[in-house]
Symmetry: C2
Subunit: 439 residues, 2 copies
């Protein structure tokens, strides 16, 4: 047993999420990529006398955030076009910019920027739906970041390919390429009901069943999406996909600002998960996801930031805060989505949605050491009555001070350990200068 | 002219809010408490060769935030009771805790904590409605913080006094005591239509007219407040107060989640201002203030955090972010409340609401030097297409790095210049320990 193999982390509080109680006077011991033990401090020192020891006397140790929906590379478009009506934003800014600029280098650079921002704000696993998922996977693996990369399926050509056939080929090749990389999963990302026809959706279901690949789809993002589908097909999108046997526990439906009892019944029967992106839904005026109704129906709800072009940050603490606040006003009940529930949405519920709850989402012996610490020595968190309340209602991303992914220390004292941030920001600015001068 | 009297501040961008354009290559020169000049960098150096010089090469200099509504001392109750229905929260937690704990020392300590938190997050002027306004004023003056302190008027006894007569006496005495203190104003804070009867409201109007004292009142915070008033008096609260000739351009109506055309007509005719507290309205499930309708009717809307017990921070950047996002979803228009409008709500509109637009709220020669700088060398703000978008949609309070109030440097490199933060947090924790053991 070498010195470097084990680390004892001794914070002020441990939030395991395996119970509702915070542990005080306890240490978490990690070895290689996993959580070895959770022990009272003295016992930890006795049991692991040669371990490296990290003291976090003002901090809470908790599971890293699981960001269940985004388009990482769009970080390079962050702030390019804001405060515009949805269709103007898409048709006159985002789609033309994507058409002009998105290639493998763009995706590699944008993803690297996004992963750095996510790590600094406490995200240890992200789920991404974007062109060139094999590049997202490559960059994530090289940065030791956990990622689920959904390759896009659409009816029409994009910078990624000519149409469904080419998309399927490339996604399956990526799946094959990364099958032995433990931090990476490749899945299918049929973009949305209105951009993918029945045949590719049925093929997604078939291949997913055969290869155990997860699926993510934008669904019921706006009122228009549903009314338009009703007019054209006589069915709500949820119903049309149900008729195709598309839904299952391996699918995440993203956004869902439109929900009725039929939708609830469909999701519930299929075990499908809902990914709530509160800030994106607000910013694009898409509407409000009725999380309270979903949770009452025992449908798993997890959180995502969406891409930076519609948010404009990748900050899960802020997303958790927004989710907790909005749920109260939307349900007209100040006790809706209490702080602990919001934390679960940002961690263990995300792990469940992505089918990874045996590996991540809580602090449990044998699970992966995806951990973060939150520094509570911030004036906005004083005085301290309840660390969970302070985390959700008072803390900011700049209080995330240590981050481990699979036992690998990524952020130490609020600084990235393996990324030259200044260089990264320069690279991002070069893209922005190019894009704004020629778009 | 001594060396210390003038300071040249040279940031990357200056957002004056006197025009829509950001200035680049410009410096702001401050002398004693005022803004002396705004000049191109070279000219600034030539004109003021002996001035102190502060370079902020990654920063934007802008007017400090004006937090138009809060209860500063309630900072000591932050996180004491969250996620509870409104009446349980008030009747079983907040009111009993106030009855048991609020005294002059509590208000002094809580206000000191709140001012420190506000300064660190870029607020340079706050408007406060709480017991012992003379203590709030004293603490603010001693910390060189700009404050408008509204003394509470209610029908019933509180720790501050036995009823309206005593409240009026004490508020008038405070007004007299601070009449020569340039950073402090004392005003009347009739709590809400449902807690103050007609006679004290008429007296507020009369005294305010005579003494030019501002007025702040909670109004239409919840649906129940309006329906209950309609049932009991046959009038909406806005109408009842209009019949008393209560409204005027010296009044700020706080919350206003319930709004109809009649309310709009009343506010508009009177020149009354609306203070929007988006996060408090969400957290207490009070509802949504229709800022879009108010602004369309050209009613001045400014922002407030409300007290920390219902927020739970005093972070105007976050409030601005929430206001901009919610306005879009509520009005179903992604172009509603664009970033620059949100910044104005947090600065110049606040100055207008408080009747202080000749002194603060924008960067203009002759106005008070209430300035803050925002550090954009944060990965969440990269790349940079538009500093105003990044400020509203991406930045966090931890990027506020310099703060001046009336020319007095309060925060330097993200650290308070004149407050021992650790000692302050210890003091706050002593209160919390006492309160949680005995409440």
């Amino acid at each position: 047993m070498s010195l470097a193999e084990e680390t004892i982390i001794t914070p002020k509080w441990v939030m395991t999420l395996e119970s509702e109680e915070l542990l005080v006077g306890h240490s978490v011991i990690i070895g290689k990529d996993v959580i070895l033990a959770i022990l009272p401090n003295e016992q930890a020192l006795k049991t692991y006398p040669n371990a490296k020891h990290i003291f976090l006397p003002q901090q809470m140790l908790m599971p890293g955030f699981v960001n269940c929906h985004g388009h990482a590379a769009m970080n390079l478009f962050k702030g390019l076009a804001d405060d515009l009506p949805l269709m103007t934003w898409l048709e006159e800014h985002i789609w033309p910019a994507e058409g002009q600029w998105v290639n493998e280098q763009f995706v590699a650079d944008g993803t690297k920027l996004a992963i750095s921002e996510m790590l600094l704000s406490g995200t240890t696993c992200f789920s991404d739906m974007y062109f060139f998922p094999e590049v997202v996977a490559e960059v994530s693996a090289s940065m030791n970041m956990r990622a689920i990369c959904y390759g896009p399926i659409l009816n029409f050509p994009t910078p990624y390919g000519s149409g469904p056939d080419e998309y399927f080929d490339k996604i399956l090749a990526a799946h094959d390429k990364f099958k032995h990389q433990p931090l990476i999963d490749i899945g299918f990302g049929p973009h949305a009901p209105y951009t993918v026809s029945d045949e590719p959706l049925k093929k997604v279901r078939m291949l997913s069943d055969q290869l155990k690949m997860p699926i993510q789809i934008h669904l019921h993002e706006t009122e228009f999406e549903v009314s338009d589908a009703l007019e054209k097909t006589g069915k709500r999108p949820s119903q049309r996909l149900d008729d195709l046997n598309f839904w299952g526990p391996d699918v995440q439906a993203v956004h869902v600002t439109q929900l009725n009892q039929q939708d609830i019944d469909i999701f519930k029967k299929a075990g499908t998960h809902v990914i709530h992106c509160p800030e994106s839904n607000l910013k694009l005026a898409s509407g409000f996801c009725p999380t309270h109704e979903l949770q009452t129906a025992q449908i798993n709800v997890a959180l995502g930031t969406d891409g930076a072009a519609s948010n404009n940050d990748l900050d899960m603490l802020s997303e958790m805060h927004s989710a907790a606040l909005i749920a109260k006003a939307v349900s007209k009940d100040a006790s809706a989505l209490p702080a602990l529930e919001a934390v679960k949405m940002a961690t263990i519920n995300g792990a469940i949605a992505l089918g990874k709850e045996d590996q991540i989402g809580s602090i449990k012996v044998g699970k992966q050491a995806d951990l973060i610490s939150i520094d509570f020595s911030d004036i906005s968190c004083a005085p301290m009555y309840d660390p969970i309340s302070q985390l959700v209602y008072s803390a900011s991303r700049h209080q995330v001070d240590h981050v481990w992914v699979a036992g690998h220390l990524q952020v130490k004292n609020k600084t990235l350990c393996h990324v030259d941030t200044a260089q990264l920001m320069e690279m991002a600015q070069e893209w922005a200068d190019k894009i704004s001068s020629k778009t």
